[in-house]
Structure formats: structure tokens, C-alpha cells
Symmetry: C2
Subunit: 521 residues, 2 copies
């Protein structure tokens, strides 16, 4: 009755009836979560520019390196660049020539394996694969229960448990900053928590070599690896932004070098906000992003040829009235398509984001996020970072928003599954079973399939208005609060080998008693 | 500071500052609404199946007509089919052969012009064009102010005014059913209201020939056309569903014939809900949709070869626990891509929908809608029907949801605008202007562009959390209520020529005094 002509045809009311099998209240469809662990995107990536235009942006970025250069603050990084033939001038300005960049792009792998604590947690980054990594970096958390406040270690562990619970989230990330932990010890507790609360690949902050090495050691011990085994395969990842425009700061250079030498993944993501730290044109912001990404990628390959590095894009526009970042905008959509084209142009895996600028987990947060998710997905992203839980331009983590995002991601994961177009699915014989004007509820074609035919949502409420009202008329935001609490109840902590667990504890205890390591900046 | 490495690099806080020009509080960016009136989708449509698989679904639909047939309830329609060589059997069963269908597809136009009351309202249906048509058919309306209740004529006029106000909505539709108007007079008042409150193309219900002819006459008089001029070009459209599976009811057959003979547009949209009125497989539901659409298209071409008819898809799945329709699901997404492929396979314009099943204008409504919008857009739809204002599977109209949808549609319309990849936009010289680590706020490249560089939202709030909280912490749903009231204040009624207006009034008065015309079913 929702369509206008259903009104036209009067007596022909659309049938809604309850199935016998579903009356018990339990889900009629068994869990199909296995399908969410490794995702392949079957759709041809959308292009916003021609291949020639993309090549021209790449060419212009090479000119930026040759004619303008970038400022590199870390002496060791300048020495690596200089030893490879780069010209150093003025105030720490480095000029990469196109051959040096081309050699780096030859050694950077097009496909990367990222391992977790179980075989089924392994992710492939590159090709047609798509990996969902949750929100990273917010100082605050906001829930329906207590509103917005600074994050704590308990909050972070909550987010780790939720990210472990939902199979469609494929890794961990620092999903809220534990501000109650001392700066010099935080990395130890956070990395141990990732290893004990989850078997998904962990994130490590690049906040100076001592912290990075501590974290790598915890992961190596937890995974029961020799030092050579750890260096041979990626078990961790980090995200590094440049100080746009055209500057690589000390900790980010150090991080690129440290991760490359350890064989761990750097997602090299310039934060080129169009109109603020980047040109006010999307083509210009993308060109700057590309130039800066090429610098980081080249540094990683000079530190260790073949090191795993991902082309990260994080370009959006600002509100020109206030300078505040905006996300999920039309400029963001087009920029995402271009970023994917640029990544494929140089043959590297591409990271995009699920971003929004809303202050609340509300309708704006959702439509901006959905634009971000679709632009990344149809643009052919290999990593969707900040995939779940992000609010307020990344300043705040939200468990309710995480549930909304998980629903959206599961829908996308299901949309990736091939559509069965066999003769049996096309169903000529099924049509023969049902009289004109009849229904398919009881058809054998339906009965043999209905339990697993459709995606069962975790958040959407499809009851009719009367039932919904009787049940309290609960809006989606409030239902999301219930869903994450149910997920927390259903969370199962993975088992860490007791020897590994003891080794991790002993290491963390020792490093704690030694005073840990202060972050570098 | 939203990205993790912005945390890493410590002191490098992201800059947010107010621009001088924007402090006055007015919009820094002038209106750019002209760009929303005629939209061209630049993106290559996404495919969910191979061309061979699509051809096989088409072939199977032809077999359905030849071997199973469809039931046609209107004698005149059966006579038209029989006269063209179709075999009639059993209980009003009609068997179309593939040659008859092929001839219809040859005469059906691939591109259709739909005219309004002003040149800039003209829409092209077909090719790469995309037309947004608002919600049609809901019996109820739901606003933040009064909750859900039966629709009235005043409510419908409110929706007409809102649809007229926003340029991104390209036509009118019966956006809520005026249940306070008598059945036999409703079509007269509603059509007159469309002509006087808006200059966008109107919708006419196919509820029997007398009503249809009344409505056509009102439109002809309002537009100042001769009968021949009216018949030569489309000035109105209707949507017709089949009684799936495989049945064409009396009023829908009559509508197809009436609209074809008058040269007005039928959007032939089988409502094939997978698992209910259609097979539980998406390929099967699409195949049934295709077969039924072909029947309607063929009837229109037999009634008047060359008549404008659109391939409408309205296939989704049901909740297998309750039988309730679901929208914006993964099945809906894949089905939309397939529907677009089927429409292009037969060379007709394709209509999709912006649908959701939420009982409230909330986050679920938005993520389901966004899936529908993106699946239609990336699938290459020519018409997005129910583009704005739809809730609850189409049972309810919502002005707040209309505003959320308008924001989403305007973002999409902006994402259709070509990305400037000129050398000036790529901005090598702009980079030269700004020191490493600096910003582009004051760069000449920025100053000459910033006022029109980015899309200015109508609903999104990009203020920071402190400002947002100071301003009351208003969530998006509540802001949408304010926005539609502002739009209503800003609404300008178009001028109808006084002669035309008098002629319309005289006609409506006469037909009212004659008792109008009862709907047929």
C-alpha cells in the first residue's frame, strides 16, 4: 500500500502476515557472520576523472617535489633521502626526483597481508579486498548514558570488546584515548589490552621509537613469534598524517622508519583539508595529498625496500565560515573517488574513511557517514578506517554510532555477496507454482530458502507503526544503546596461550617498573 | 586533531579559525540552486550481474509470457492484446509472444520530455539525466509538532509548497492523501492545487477514465494548451503497479491506455516484494518485475505506439518473520543495480526509489534511505521516485524527513557537478604561495574562490561541540522541523495567467456541481 497505484487498485491491499516459523520471537535466520570476516568488493570502482587527468595530477605532484620540495624535520630521514640522491636545500627542504619516487613505488607491495591472533582474522589489503578498521584517536567518548566526557581506559576496553564482538570490524584501533593512564605507560597497557581482549590485528601509535618498540615486543610475545617471524609479516599497523602542506614532522618520519624496518604497516594519510591546510579546490587538495603521500611512501621504502605501506587519503573540505572540518560532503565524495584513482594509478592499497562532523549520533551523523561509506566502497577502497563509532570530526567516540555503523557495514558486506542468477534462482518454476494475484509465502521455492534468504538487521525495527508504538516508540538512537549493551553481554574474550600471556605480563611489568617511555613529539 | 597521527605529532593542533567574511552570520556562499534544476549523472552505472546474465533474465521473462501468461482483468486491454496477435486462454490469461514485446520496445521512446509551467521546470527522462520526484501515496502524515495522523488537504498543500520551494525536487506527487476531501471531488481539488501552488510537473492518479480526463483537462487549461498540444508532449505522469504476481487489474490497465492515448507518462512499476508477491530470490523477483513491466509497456504501445512509458522498479524484500516490506536492505541495493541493467537492456528510462521502513524520521530512516539513494544513483536511475519525505514503507509522509532527504539530494546533485581538474584548480602555483606547515586561508587561490567553493548545507550543523551545546544541543530531527518551517515562510507561489486560472476554476466548479467522478477499482 506504499505505492501510489496500490492505492489506485483499491481492494488489492498488500498482504502482511506472520510466518509460522517466526512467531517464537527468535531470529528466523541463522547467524551468517562468517561472511563478514573477509570481504571482496565485486563492483568496478567509480571514476570522477579521466585516466589522463589522474596522470596529470600525479605529474603535478612530481613537479611539487622537484620544484618546491617538502620540509623534513627528522635528520635521519633527511639523511636517508640524501643518500638516495635527493637534493637538500634551504631550511631542511628535500627535493625528491621522479626516479627516486618511481623506484619506491616499484618496491612498495601492491598487496599486504595483516595477521591477527587466529587464521580467520587475517586480512588482505589490496586488490578487491575491503577491510573495516574502527575509529581511532578521539580524546572523548559520548554515550546516551552519560553524555560527552574525556575517555578512560575502561572506555577504551569497552570499545575493544565491541570491536572484537562484531565480525564486520576487522581490526582494533585506539577507539578512545585513555586519559586516565600516565603518558609514559599508556602504550603498554593499551597494547596489552588489545592482545588480551581481542584476536584482531592491533594498532600501534607512532609516538617515538621507544614506545613503538615496546608495543612491537608485546605483540611479538603475545603472538608467540621469533623476532624474524615478526619482521617477516605484518601483525600491526599505524596511521601517519603529514603536517600539511608539505611538511613531515619528527615523530611521523620516525614512525615511517620504525614501522618499515619492523615490516609493520604504515597507512600514510595526509590530512589535507581543502581550504585550510590544502588548496580550496578538490583537485588541488588531492594533488597535495598525493605529493605528501609519495614522500612518506618513499621514506618507508628507503628505510626498508618492500615495507608494507598503504596510500591513505583523508582529504575533505572545511566550513568556509568557521574553518571547521566537514565530512560526507559532495566535495568529500568526489575527492574520495579521485583518491581511489590516484592509489590505483601508483598501484598501492587505498585507505578511505567513514567520517562525519555531527556533534550527536543523529540523522546528520548518519547521512554524512553513509556518503563517506558509499564513496569509499564504490570508489574501491581497501581499508575503511574510522569505520564505526566516529562522531564530531573524530573528536568523540560513540558506542551508539558504532552500532549504527555496524548495521551499515553489514548491509554493505551483504551487498558484496554475489547475486545468485542461476536458473533456479531466476525461478521460472517458482512462478509456475503461484497463481496470478497469489503469493509466494508457501511456495516450495520460498520454503526451502526463506530462513537464510535475507539479511537480518541488528538495529532496524521493521515492526508496523502500531507494534512499534506499543513497544514504546523507541527511536533508533535509543535502540542502538540497547544493542551495544547486548553485544557487550555476548562478548567472548579470546584465549591467549598462558605462556604468551605470562610473557606479556612480565614484559609490561618490567617496562612499567622502568618508567615506561614518554611519547616523542 | 581527529586523525590519530595528529595526536602523534603532538603540538601540531589542527587550526580552526573564523573567516572575516563569515562573521556577519549570513551565508558566505551565494545560492547556487540553479544547478539543481537539471541534473546529469556523470558516473558509469554499477553492474551487479554480467550482460549475459541480464540477457538471460530478459529471456526467462519472455518465456513467462509465452508459457505461463498473465491475467488481464480489463476486457479492452485483452482485446488490444488479442488484436496484436496475443493468445488468450483460460481465465483471462494473455500470452504475449516475443515479437509482440519486441515491437513495443521499438516504439517506446528511450528519452522522454516532461514539461512544467516554466521552461526551467522541463525535465528529460532518460540517458544520463536524473529527475527527483517526491513521495507519493501515503495516507498519513507525521510531524514533530503533532505526531502521526490521517492526511488532510491542508497537509497536501503544505507538501506541495515544500516541493515547489526546493529546486532539487523536480516534480510534484500526491505526497499525502487528503482524506478530508470527498472521493469523487478529490482529484479536481488536488490537480487544481498542483497547478496553482507550483509550476513543476504534476502527478495524476489512474483511478478510472473520468477522473483522468478531468485532471488532464485542468492541466491543459492551466498550461494554456490546445488538445493537440497537450497530447503532443508530456505534461503529467502517473505511477502504475501490477497486482503481482502476473496480474493486471482493471484500473491499472485503464490507466495505461488512458495515459498512452493522451501522450502522458506512465511509470510502470511492478511492486514485486521478494518473499511475498515475488520469488524469495532477488533474481527471481527481478525477473517477475521485468515480465510484468514488459506487459504494461506493451499495452501502452498497443494503445498508442510511441507513448511515453518508464521502466519502473520497486522490488525489495520482506521481513521473513512478519512479511512486512523492508527497504534500503542489501537485497534492495543489489536488486536496484539489476533493475537498472534490465532497463538499459531494453532501452527505456529507469525509475528507482528512495525508500525506508522506519516508523520515525530517525537514524534508521536515514541509513535505509541513503542506501536507496546511492543504489539508485550509482545504478544509473533516471527517476528517483519518493525522493523526499517518505517514512514507514510509504504509509506516512514526513516534512522533517523531506528536509533530510533534500539535504542528501542536494549533496548528490553537487557530487554530479564535474570536478575542475584544470591546471589552475590542481594549483601548483597555489602551493608555491604557502610555506610548508602554513595554511591556505589567506592565499589568493583561496580568496578568489572560497565563497562558492563548497556546498553550503541547509540542515547539517558544523559548529563545534561547545557552540552546538550553547545553542541548545539541538539534534538533526528537531533542526529539520525548523528548516521546513523556514522553507514554508520563504515559499513563493508562482503566477498562473489569470485567464488560465479562471478557466481552471470554471472547469472545477462545473465538474464539482456535476458531482465529480468516483474512483474506479
Amino acid at each position: 500500500m506504499s505505492e501510489v497505484a496500490a492505492e489506485t487498485s483499491g481492494g488489492q491491499r498488500r498482504r502482511r502476515r506472520r510466518r509460522g516459523g517466526g512467531d517464537a520471537g527468535g531470529p528466523a535466520t541463522p547467524p551468517r557472520s562468517e561472511a563478514y570476516r573477509k570481504l571482496t568488493n565485486p563492483y568496478t570502482p567509480v571514476k570522477a576523472l579521466s585516466d589522463d587527468q589522474i596522470a596529470h595530477i600525479h605529474e603535478t605532484a612530481l613537479r611539487v617535489h622537484e620544484e618546491l620540495g617538502i620540509r623534513v624535520l627528522l635528520p635521519e630521514a633527511r639523511e636517508l633521502f640524501a643518500a638516495a640522491g635527493a637534493k637538500i636545500s634551504g631550511d631542511r627542504m628535500v627535493h625528491l626526483d621522479r626516479d627516486l619516487i618511481a623506484r619506491a613505488l616499484e618496491t612498495a607491495p601492491s598487496t599486504i597481508t595483516l595477521k591477527g591472533g587466529a587464521d580467520h582474522r587475517e586480512q588482505t589489503l589490496g586488490g578487491n579486498s575491503m577491510t573495516f578498521m574502527p575509529i581511532g584517536g578521539p580524546p572523548h567518548i559520548n554515550t546516551l548514558d552519560h553524555g560527552k566526557r574525556p575517555g578512560t581506559f575502561e572506555d577504551l576496553k569497552l570499545m575493544f570488546r565491541l570491536c572484537q564482538h562484531f565480525d564486520v570490524i576487522h581490526a582494533l584501533s585506539p577507539s578512545v584515548e585513555p586519559q586516565d593512564l600516565a603518558n609514559e605507560l599508556r602504550h603498554l597497557d593499551v597494547t596489552r589490552a588489545q592482545m588480551t581482549l581481542s584476536d584482531k590485528p592491533p594498532f600501534v601509535y607512532a609516538r617515538g621509537t621507544p614506545q613503538v618498540h615496546d608495543c612491537f615486543e608485546i605483540i611479538r610475545l603475545a603472538r608467540g613469534l621469533s623476532e624474524d617471524e615478526f619482521r617477516a609479516t605484518a601483525y600491526a599497523y599505524t596511521v601517519i598524517n603529514s603536517n600539511s602542506p608539505r611538511q613531515l614532522d619528527i615523530p611521523m618520519c620516525q614512525g615511517l622508519i620504525d614501522f618499515a624496518r619492523a615490516g609493520q604497516i604504515t597507512v600514510m594519510s595526509p590530512f589535507t583539508l581543502s581550504g585550510a591546510m590544502a588548496p580550496v579546490t578538490m583537485a588541488g587538495a588531492q594533488m597535495l595529498q598525493h605529493a605528501e603521500a609519495l614522500a612518506g611512501i618513499t621514506l618507508s621504502q628507503l628505510a626498508n625496500p618492500g615495507a608494507p605501506v598503504v596510500y591513505g587519503s583523508f582529504t575533505s573540505n572545511v566550513d568556509m565560515k568557521s574553518g571547521a572540518p566537514a565530512f560526507g560532503t559532495p566535495e568529500y565524495i568526489k575527492g574520495s573517488f579521485v583518491a581511489g584513482q590516484l592509489a590505483r594509478h601508483i598501484g598501492l592499497p587505498w585507505r578511505s574513511s567513514n567520517a562525519n562532523a555531527s556533534n550527536a549520533a543523529d540523522e546528520q551523523a548518519v547521512y554524512e557517514s553513509m556518503n563517506s561509506i558509499w564513496a569509499a566502497t564504490l570508489g574501491g577502497a581497501n581499508i575503511l578506517y574510522h569505520c564505526a563509532g566516529w562522531l564530531e570530526g573524530g573528536l568523540t567516540s560513540s558506542p551508539e554510532k558504532l552500532v549504527m555503523d555496524v548495521e551499515a557495514l553489514q548491509i554493505m558486506a551483504e551487498a558484496f555477496q554475489p547475486l545468485d542468477a542461476s536458473d533456479d534462482a531466476i525461478g521460472f518454476e517458482a512462478l509456475r507454482e503461484v497463481e496470478p494475484g497469489g503469493h509466494f509465502f508457501a511456495a516450495s521455492h520460498t520454503m526451502s530458502r526463506y530462513e537464510t534468504a535475507f539479511y537480518p538487521p541488528i538495529l532496524s525495527d521493521w515492526s508496523n507503526f502500531g507494534q512499534w508504538t506499543e513497544n514504546g516508540g523507541v527511536r533508533t538512537y535509543e535502540r542502538a544503546n540497547t544493542v551495544w549493551k547486548q553485544a557487550l553481554d555476548a562478548y567472548e574474550q579470546p584465549t591467549l596461550d598462558s605462556g604468551a600471556s605470562d610473557a606479556v605480563d612480565a614484559f609490561v611489568d618490567r617496562r612499567t617498573s622502568e618508567g615506561g617511555a614518554h611519547p616523542e613529539s
